[in-house]
Structure formats: structure tokens, C-alpha cells
């Protein structure tokens, strides 16, 4: 029964928590939407603000209003926009760079990751493999809803205007060729994704996008695209491309285009063999190699060596790692060759060459001319080079060399490199005087900023740091000296204040008593010389000595805190009070305590002790009470001490200078305590002090730390 009840309670609690959480999320969503969502206006998407885009695969770059992905990865994505957009369209001019792939736009996308179909969203675009306009949905897996032949057809390297619209669960895409012919596909996805951001995507080919625009979509916009025809319910295809019977004709041509794109000259020569050609006979040669540098000069490399191609005709933008075939005229140089008037064709991508790790001494021999190498060196200086380049001068052993990198893009970060840092650089080793200016034996042409790695920073011990250290030490010493002086001054001031207080105390008590005693002794001397009876005078003098002795004892007792530490506040007050009233048997002292007695910081308990002593002393001296009641109340966050007597009391308008009231008040102020005196002639006096106390755990820690420290010290001493 109990279990059932607890289970029910748990369920109710869970439902309540879930409801609260949902309410909170809903509330936050509303707040968020109000706070962040501005009106959804049509907008031309900026390609220049790199921060607005998030890439998932691919090698993206924008220039001249065109966003380009040069990678033929399968499923490169570039995403932007908020995830709460629902009904909108994305338009863009799209160009496929290569064959056998597709490229287009994404909308209503969320949860993107790197991966072929790693997102939740809709994609529409052009596929040149089977010459179709495609529309489908990705949920970490692709569902192709439609693939409609494009009129006239999908050509690589041609622009098409693609518009993809989502309204409710209806989706429509149109592709317009430069000829003006438009192909439209529309579907309804009943279980549609409601919202998401937009993006660009390519599959198995590089592509370009420009004139990207986002607009809010209405039903009228949808009708304008579909002509009012209700889109069919989306039904994904269930077999891979080309698996349907009768599909051979449809796919044969793209297959042939694909194979021709990759067809290579089987008579290509090894790059190192070019250096052995006759220097006097012009030779037209074909080489195969992997691109190792694209700017300022195209460099390629095969397993035998590297080659520069200063003037080339390329059919598509080249990337580092592309395997190319180059046909041109070989030009022989001392250590390597160059290819002039070369016709360069991309064979395939993604075969980057790893750099060869060499020392500067090895590179200085020229044996690695035109090859991709990795070298370490210490940065000696940085300077601006020609054509917006940054030139780094490095030393390694007995050799110096230059590293040249373009200043465009992130290379600006190289300006922050510190001299004397040890760097690891990857680049093309060249001995051409055009780069070395005959100042060094070789230079490195760096492909990008990413090819510079700081192995270790500059040595710490340099003149600037040493000077800074000395100044720092001096400043520290000066600050220490100032602190010491200040503390000494405070200590001295405290000593002087204490001395002043003692002086006042002695002046008020012992000095006056001694003065009175002196007068009394003078009177005795005078009366003794006159032969009068001096016994009464001696009695008075003895009384005065006794009183002075009492005063001195009281003062000494007030200066000794050890009672307080050993007895606790209540007992210490009681002890002092009983000593003060000692001899005055007519005064009854009663002590009370309320609340659990607990530890109080010494500063607070000492101050309360002094105030209590003063109050008791005043009562004993001036009020002649029959009873003195002292109570301590331990409350939450404070302690209250009340000293009350049933003596003669006093009037507030009377002279209070001798009662030490201002001293008690100051002492209370010093610990932030509330201080109050209530008295009236004939009605006794009540002194009340309420002091705040810190939380008990803090006090425990504060007390334990010295104890531990003491134990530790004792332990060490014991060893």
C-alpha cells in the first residue's frame, strides 16, 4: 500500500515537474521569440561574413559574390540562419563544377553534422548524373521524393536558377536554365519537419552558388510555383540509382562522361625524368602529379620529384591534393624542371602528398627543389614582401632561409608570430633566385597560414623580460616595504592608543587615589606636628590605600583576556563581577544564560566582556545596588548581553562623564553591536548590547585551522 502510494506520488511529481519544465520552456520560447525574432524580411544573403556560415565538410570560399565549394566530397554542407524559420524560400544561382554529382540548397534543417546525409532537413538541387531536378528529405539517411528530368538538361559549368520553397508541409522546387526553360517539382510531406535553417549542399562534385536570397513564403507563393495543383504525397524511391529495369540508356551517358573525365594518358613521364631531357631540343611532355601549391605558382609532385607549372590552362579551379594531368613544354633548370604553356586537367581529388621532413642543411643542397617539405627553424625577422606577401627569415644551424606566404585571409595572423620562436613550416622548397634573391640558399613557399606551426615560443630570458623582472622585483620590494611601514604604523598607533587608554585609566583611578592619599598624608603630618589625634586620619588613609588597591586589581583584571579564553564569556563576566563586588556582601550577583552557549569570536567576546565590566564597575561604584543581574542570550546570528542593577540610577540629563558610557558605546560600535542604556533616578540601570555573530561553521573552520597548524607543528617538533 505504501509502495503504491509512493509510486503514485512519484508519478504525480514527475508529471508536475515535466509540466513545469514544459511551461518554463514554452515561456522561454515565447520570450526568446519576442526578444530575438525580428520581422522576417526578404534578404540577400551575405557571402562575405564568414561567421554567419557554418561548414560541415567541403572546402568553402567566397569571392566576388560567389560561394564556392571546391571539394567533391559526398555531402558537403554550408549552413546559416536560425532554426525557427518555418515558411520561407531560398533562391540561388547554382553551378556544378564537375560531373556525376549534385548540388543545390537546403531548407528547414537542424542537427547538422559532417556526413553524407547527416542533418534533418529538405534538399533540392540539380544532378547531372541522370539529368534531374531532385527533391528529398534527409534524416541521417536520404529519402528521395522526386527526380524529374530537367529541360533542356543539366550541364556542368552552367548556371541554373534554383528556387526551393516550403509552406506548411508542401515543398516546391524550380530550376530555370539560362535558356529560360523551367522545371518544377512539388511534393507534400504529411509528417514534415516544421522549421529549420537554410544551407548549400553539394554531393560528389564541387559547385558554386551566387545571388542567394531568402524570402518569407505564403500560400500564394506556393500556388505561383505549382500553378494551384495540389502536390502529390511524397513517396521515396526504394532502389538505388540505376537499379530500375530499363535504366541503362538513362545512365550510360553519364557513366561515359564520368569515365572520360578520369581518363588519363598512360604514357605520362616521371617528373624527375624531365631533368634528363636534352636542354637543346624542345620537348612536349605529359606528367601526372598531385598539386602541392596553387599560388603564386602551380606546383605538382609525383613519387620522383616536383615540378613548377608557371603558366597553365586549367579547366577547373585546382586544390592542393588534386591529381592532375599536365601536358606542356619542358623547360630545364639546374635542380628541377618547369612546364610551360601547360594544359592541366583534373583527374581526381583527395590524394594529398605528405611532406618530406628535412633539415635546412639538406634543403640547402637543392636536392629538394620544387618538392613539398617540412623544415624547422627559428624566426629571425618578419618583413613585407612584394605582391602582398609576408616574408619570414629563419635560421636553422648554419643555414638561413626564407618562408613566403600570401597575406590574404588568415595569413595576417602570422604578423603575431614572435621573433626567436621555433617554427615548423610545410611548403614548397625552391632555389629559384626570383624567391631567394640570392640572399639564402633556398626559400619555402607556404600554401597557407595553417602550414606554420609554433613548436616553441621565444626564449623567456631576453633583455626586455629581464628589465621587466628587475622592475617587478623592485616594485614588489617597494610595495612590501610600504606594507610593512603601514603595518608598523598601525601597530604603533594601537600601542599608543592602548597606552593613552591606560594613562586615562590610571589617571582616573590610581593617580586620583594617590593624590587623595597624598593630601591625606599631608593632613596627618600637619595634625601630627600639632599633636592632634591622627588615628581617624590614618583610618581614612588606609581606606584610600585599600580602595586604590582594589582599583588597581580591577584594572589589571580588565587587561587580562586569559580568563575569557579559558572560561568562556559568561563565566569570565561572572568571575570579574564577583571579584569587583568582593567585600560588598550586600550586592547579590545573578547570572543568566539563554539559548545554547556557543563559540563567539574572541574580538566580540572581549568587547562584550569590557562593556560588562564597565557596566558592573559603574553599578558598584555609583549605584549602590542590592542586586546585579547579568544575562547572556545566544540568538540566531547574534548574542545579547544585559547588565541590570536596582541601584539609584541616574538621569539622562545629568553629568555622565565619569560613567564611561561613551567608552562602552565606542567599544560596541567597534564590533557593529547595538548599544542601549536605560536608567532613571531610583529605578536602577539596564545596559543592553546586541552583537552580530558570524555563522557557526565559519567559526569552526577558523578555530580548527590554528589547531591543526598547532598539531602539525607539534608533530614536526616531535620528529
Amino acid at each position: 500500500m505504501k509502495k503504491i502510494a509512493s509510486g503514485r506520488n512519484l508519478s504525480i511529481a514527475c508529471i508536475a515537474i515535466a509540466a513545469m519544465a514544459l511551461l518554463a520552456v514554452a515561456g522561454w520560447s515565447v520570450f526568446h521569440s519576442v526578444a530575438r525574432r525580428g520581422p522576417f524580411e526578404p534578404q540577400q544573403v551575405s557571402l562575405e561574413k564568414q561567421d554567419d556560415w557554418q561548414a560541415f565538410g567541403g572546402t568553402w570560399q567566397s569571392a566576388g559574390g560567389v560561394m564556392q565549394n571546391n571539394s567533391d566530397e559526398r555531402g558537403a554542407k554550408l549552413m546559416s540562419g536560425p532554426t525557427y524559420w518555418t515558411n520561407y524560400s531560398i533562391e540561388a544561382d547554382v553551378l556544378l563544377l564537375g560531373q556525376y554529382g549534385d548540388a543545390g540548397v537546403i531548407l528547414r534543417s537542424t542537427d547538422e553534422e559532417e556526413g553524407v546525409d547527416a542533418y534533418h532537413g529538405y534538399m533540392a538541387g540539380l544532378r547531372d548524373l541522370d539529368n534531374t531536378l531532385i527533391l528529398g528529405r534527409a534524416d541521417y539517411g536520404w529519402r528521395e521524393y522526386a527526380a524529374k528530368p530537367v529541360a533542356p538538361r543539366v550541364y556542368a559549368q552552367q548556371w541554373y536558377h534554383v528556387k526551393f520553397l516550403a509552406y506548411g508541409c508542401d515543398f516546391a522546387v524550380s530550376a530555370t536554365a539560362t535558356s529560360g526553360q523551367t522545371t518544377i517539382v512539388a511534393v507534400e510531406d504529411p509528417d514534415c519537419l516544421p522549421a529549420g535553417r537554410f544551407g548549400l549542399k553539394s554531393y560528389n562534385t564541387g559547385a558554386e552558388w551566387k545571388n542567394i536570397e531568402i524570402r518569407p513564403a505564403t500560400r500564394q507563393d506556393l500556388v505561383a510555383m505549382t500553378g494551384g495543383v495540389r502536390p502529390p504525397i511524397a513517396a521515396p524511391v526504394q532502389l538505388p540509382t540505376g537499379a530500375e529495369p530499363g535504366s541503362y540508356d538513362k545512365y550510360f551517358e553519364p557513366l561515359h562522361r564520368d569515365l572520360l573525365a578520369h581518363r588519363a594518358d598512360v604514357n605520362a613521364q616521371p617528373i624527375s625524368a624531365l631533368r634528363l631531357l636534352s636542354p637543346d631540343i624542345p620537348a612536349s611532355v605529359t606528367v601526372h602529379g598531385v598539386v602541392t601549391l596553387t599560388s603564386p605558382v602551380l606546383f605538382v609532385q609525383d613519387s620522383t620529384g616536383g615540378l613548377a607549372i608557371p603558366e597553365s590552362h586549367t579547366h577547373a579551379p585546382l586544390q592542393i591534393g588534386d591529381e592532375i594531368e599536365a601536358k606542356g613544354n619542358a623547360e630545364l633548370h639546374d635542380f628541377s624542371s618547369q612546364l610551360r604553356d601547360a594544359d592541366v586537367r583534373l583527374l581526381w581529388s583527395h590524394t594529398p602528398v605528405p611532406p618530406v621532413a628535412v633539415t635546412a642543411a639538406q634543403a640547402a643542397t637543392g636536392a629538394f627543389d620544387a618538392e613539398y617539405v617540412e623544415i624547422e627553424g627559428r624566426l629571425a625577422q618578419k618583413s613585407e614582401g612584394p605582391k602582398h606577401t609576408l616574408v619570414l627569415t629563419l635560421d636553422d644551424g648554419s643555414q638561413s632561409f626564407l618562408a613566403i606566404v600570401s597575406e590574404t585571409g588568415q595569413a595576417m595572423r602570422l604578423h603575431h608570430l614572435k621573433e626567436r620562436s621555433r617554427l615548423r613550416l610545410r611548403g614548397i622548397c625552391v632555389v629559384d633566385p626570383a624567391y631567394t634573391h640570392d640572399l639564402t640558399s633556398f626559400a619555402l613557399l607556404l600554401p597557407s597560414f595553417n602550414d606554420v606551426e609554433v613548436v616553441e615560443g621565444p626564449p623567456w630570458w631576453n633583455a626586455g623580460h629581464i628589465a621587466a623582472l628587475i622592475i617587478g622585483v623592485l616594485l614588489l620590494a617597494l610595495a612590501g616595504l610600504s606594507c610593512y611601514t603601514l603595518i608598523e604604523r598601525w601597530r604603533m598607533q594601537a600601542v599608543l592608543e592602548e597606552r593613552g587608554r591606560l594613562a586615562h585609566e590610571m589617571h582616573d583611578t590610581l593617580a586620583q587615589s594617590f593624590a587623595g592619599l597624598g593630601f591625606q598624608l599631608e593632613a596627618i603630618r600637619d595634625e601630627a606636628s600639632e599633636g592632634q589625634n591622627i588615628v581617624p586620619q590614618l583610618d581614612v588613609a588606609l581606606d584610600m590605600v585599600r580602595n586604590s588597591h582594589e582599583e588597581a586589581r580591577r584594572s589589571i583584571a580588565m587587561l587580562r583576556p586569559e580568563h575569557l579564553e579559558s572560561m568562556g564569556l559568561l563565566r569570565a563576566v561572572e568571575y570579574c563581577t564577583r571579584r569587583m563586588v568582593n567585600g560588598a556582601s550586600s550586592i547579590a550577583v545573578r547570572i543568566f544564560s539563554e539559548g545554547g552557549e556557543r563559540a563567539i569570536p574572541l574580538r566580540i567576546s572581549d568587547t562584550l566582556m569590557r562593556i560588562g565590566q564597565e557596566a558592573v564597575a559603574n553599578a558598584v561604584r555609583h549605584a549602590h545596588p542590592a542586586h546585579i543581574n547579568i544575562s547572556l542570550g545566544y540568538q540566531q546570528g547574534s548574542v545579547v548581553m544585559i547588565v541590570e542593577d536596582d541601584g539609584c540610577g541616574f538621569s539622562a540629563s545629568g553629568d555622565l562623564a565619569g560613567f564611561g558610557i561613551s567608552g562602552m558605546h565606542k567599544r560596541a560600535d567597534s564590533i557593529g553591536a547595538a548599544f542601549a542604556i536605560r536608567s532613571a533616578p531610583g529605578a536602577g540601570t539596564t545596559v543592553r548590547v546586541q552583537a552580530p555573530t558570524p555563522p557557526s561553521f565559519l567559526l569552526t573552520i577558523r578555530r580548527r585551522i590554528p589547531l591543526l597548524w598547532r598539531k602539525q607543528s607539534d608533530g614536526n617538533a616531535g620528529r
Binding site: 508519478s11 514527475c14 508529471i15 515537474i17 515535466a18 513545469m20 519544465a21 514544459l22 518554463a24 520552456v25 522561454w28 526568446h32 526578444a35 565538410g57 566530397e73 559526398r74 555531402g75 558537403a76 553534422e113 559532417e114 556526413g115 553524407v116 546525409d117 547527416a118 534524416d139 541521417y140 539517411g141 536520404w142 529519402r143 554531393y203 513517396a235 521515396p236 524511391v237 526504394q238 532502389l239 538505388p240 540509382t241 540505376g242 537499379a243 529495369p245 535504366s247 541503362y248 538513362k250 545512365y251 550510360f252 557513366l255 561515359h256 564520368d258 569515365l259 572520360l260 578520369h262 581518363r263 588519363a264 598512360v266 591529381e323 583527374l347 581526381w348 583527395h350 590524394t351
Partner: protein, 334 residues
């Protein structure tokens, strides 16, 4: 106790930055959700790559079982089928996300051993699909393999039948980095030597990482003028590369091509590719997810399941069996 802590924190007067508040609310909602109803366990299914005729059926097979057994699938893979580092990163990411099980089809054998050991050390049920790793099956590790020995025999017998027991062949796409490839290669050669001694292997070439490279390798072979009656291509990329080279040299259909791993379907219909030894990745995905489910219910064990391959030819390419092998439908029936 946990709720008390949150309520105290929530009661602070200082305003939080929006993002933190948002994250907190999301966490609150998640905690409420998890407290009241358990989320379905997620199984990561990581093939060599996605979006291909070879591996998408594995998604369909795994998803069919996952729907029955109330499991969720995280399906993702490297964008290239030679990107072993990305595949290892996906495995590590699956571990970090606390997925309940991992099904992986390794791109290479040796580099995958340490990541799989790491997964097993965390007690996560794992099924390796498609190739042996050299780690013996154990309580949390099972294998679902295409029977590569049978596949090699199948290819050898097809070659023997085509050449009527006599002729020269080239073997392309040999890949020592993948144990399944090695097994199929050895089985092919053993069977040829045993059953068709008249068939001579004139050339052997290592596999390369992409179709264009395979195409170039095949072109170079054909350009040498070596007399070849048939080619056996041991991988998807080498099959496509060899087909392209044959078309380029006008030898498609003349030099017979027996490939491995389903990819190009139309040339099978025309005879440009004689046949392809297909892996039944749909069945492999189905069995792998079933094995994970058994592990999750404590019924698993050291298991190695073999799925028979199927020879895809012009005659059977439209059969129900082949259509089931090529089935892409990973989504729920509509």
C-alpha cells in the same frame, strides 16, 4: 535532492545570460522527461560510408529490426570510404554520447582494433560488420560477416564457367588493409588453382583508394598489351575503375569483368560487367541490430554470423532476392 538544488539555483536574483538560461531550461525539461519516461536506447550504425548501393541497405535492415525492438538509430559514416580517421572519430563520438551499442563496418582492419578495444572496455555492445578484426568474439563483441570464402569461390567458379576452364585473368583491387578483402582474394585464387588449373593469373594489382586511381591502374594494365580474358575486381572501386577502363579501351563485354560489392547496376544488364558478387548488407544490418538487441537483454554472446553472398548477374538483377538486397527503405512504412 537534485530538484532542490535546482530550485535554489533558480531562485537566484541575478539575471542569467539568455544562453545559460536556455540551456538550463532544456536540461530541466530533459531531466523531467528522463525521470518520467525512459528514452529509447540509441544504437550507432557506422558503415564505411553512406549513400551508396552497398551500404544503404544495411541502414534499411538495421532500421527494420530497430523499429520492432524499440531502438533508435544514429546512422552516419565518413564521406569517403577510405577515411578511417573520420570513422574512428565517429566511434569515439558515439562513446561520448553514451549510445547503447555500436555497429561498425571497418574501413581498415588494423587501425580499428584499438578503438574497438576501447569500446569493449566501456562495456558497450559492439557488432563488427563486414570484416574480421583479429579480435576473437567475446561477450560484448560479435561479428556479422559476408561469407568471403564463399564469395571468392563464387567468383572463381564464375570465371571458370565463363572461360570454360581456360584463359588468363587479372586480379585488381587487392587490399591487405582489409581482412575481408584478403580472405576473398585467397579463396578466389585457391579455388581457381584447385578447380580450374587452366585459368592463369597474369597480373595482380593492389587496390587504390578511389575510382579514378583504380581506373588508371586498369588502363595501365590494358595499355601494356598483356593478353587478358577476364578481370576479377575485388572491391567496389576497382570494379568501377576496371569497367571504366574497359569502356575506354573498347573492351567492355569482350574482356569479362567479375566484380565485388554492388555499385553499378546498369552495366550488369548490358554485359559490360559480367557479374558482381554482392554482399547482402540488408541481412547483415538486420542481424547486427538483432545481435545488439540480444546483448542489451543479456542474451548475446561471442558470436560470428556468416551471411551468404549473392552473385548478381544479368539474369537475376531484377529478381526479388536482388531487389531485397538493394532495398534502401530505412524509413517506416507509409
Amino acid at each position: 535532492m537534485r530538484w532542490a538544488m535546482f530550485s535554489v539555483t533558480f531562485g537566484k536574483k541575478k539575471p542569467w545570460p539568455h544562453r545559460r538560461l536556455s540551456a538550463f531550461l532544456l536540461l530541466l525539461a530533459m531531466l523531467a522527461g528522463t525521470g518520467c519516461r525512459r528514452a529509447l536506447p540509441v544504437i550507432a550504425v557506422i558503415p564505411r560510408t553512406c549513400g551508396t548501393a552497398l551500404w544503404e541497405p544495411e541502414h534499411a535492415g538495421a532500421a527494420a529490426v530497430a523499429r520492432e525492438r524499440r531502438l533508435n538509430i544514429y546512422w552516419n559514416a565518413p564521406m569517403r570510404d577510405d577515411d578511417i580517421q573520420s570513422q574512428i572519430a565517429l566511434i569515439d563520438q558515439s562513446l561520448k554520447r553514451g549510445y547503447a551499442g555500436i555497429i561498425v563496418s571497418p574501413i581498415e582492419t588494423l587501425p580499428m582494433r584499438t578503438p574497438i578495444r576501447r569500446v569493449l572496455a566501456r562495456g558497450v555492445p559492439t557488432v563488427v560488420v563486414g570484416t574480421e578484426l583479429g579480435i576473437a568474439p567475446e561477450p560484448h563483441l560479435a561479428y556479422v560477416l559476408s561469407d568471403e570464402r564463399a564469395a571468392g569461390e563464387m567468383a572463381a567458379r564464375r570465371i571458370g564457367a565463363i572461360l570454360r576452364g581456360n584463359g588468363t585473368i587479372a586480379i585488381l583491387g587487392i587490399n591487405p588493409q582489409l581482412m575481408s578483402n584478403v580472405v576473398r582474394e585467397r579463396s578466389l585464387e585457391t579455388t581457381l588453382a584447385r578447380e580450374f588449373p587452366g585459368v592463369r593469373v597474369a597480373a595482380r594489382q593492389f587496390g587504390l583508394s578511389s575510382v579514378p586511381q583504380e581506373q588508371q591502374a586498369a588502363e595501365e594494365l590494358l595499355a601494356k598489351g598483356v593478353k587478358i580474358d577476364a578481370i576479377v575486381a575485388l572491391s567496389l572501386a576497382s570494379t568501377r575503375g576496371a569497367y571504366y577502363a574497359l569502356v575506354e579501351f573498347g573492351k567492355d563485354g569482350i574482356i569479362k569483368l567479375v566484380g565485388f560489392d554492388q555499385d553499378l547496376i546498369p552495366p550488369i544488364r548490358t554485359g559490360g560487367i559480367d557479374s558482381v558478387v554482392a554482399q547482402d548488407t540488408f541481412e547483415m544490418g538486420r542481424l547486427a541490430m538483432d545481435q545488439i538487441d540480444r546483448e542489451l537483454h543479456g542474451k548475446g554472446g561471442a558470436t560470428e554470423l556468416l551471411v551468404p553472398p549473392v552473385l548478381m548477374t544479368r539474369e537475376n538483377v531484377d529478381s526479388a532476392q536482388i531487389r531485397q538486397i538493394l532495398n534502401l527503405a530505412w524509413w517506416p512504412p507509409q
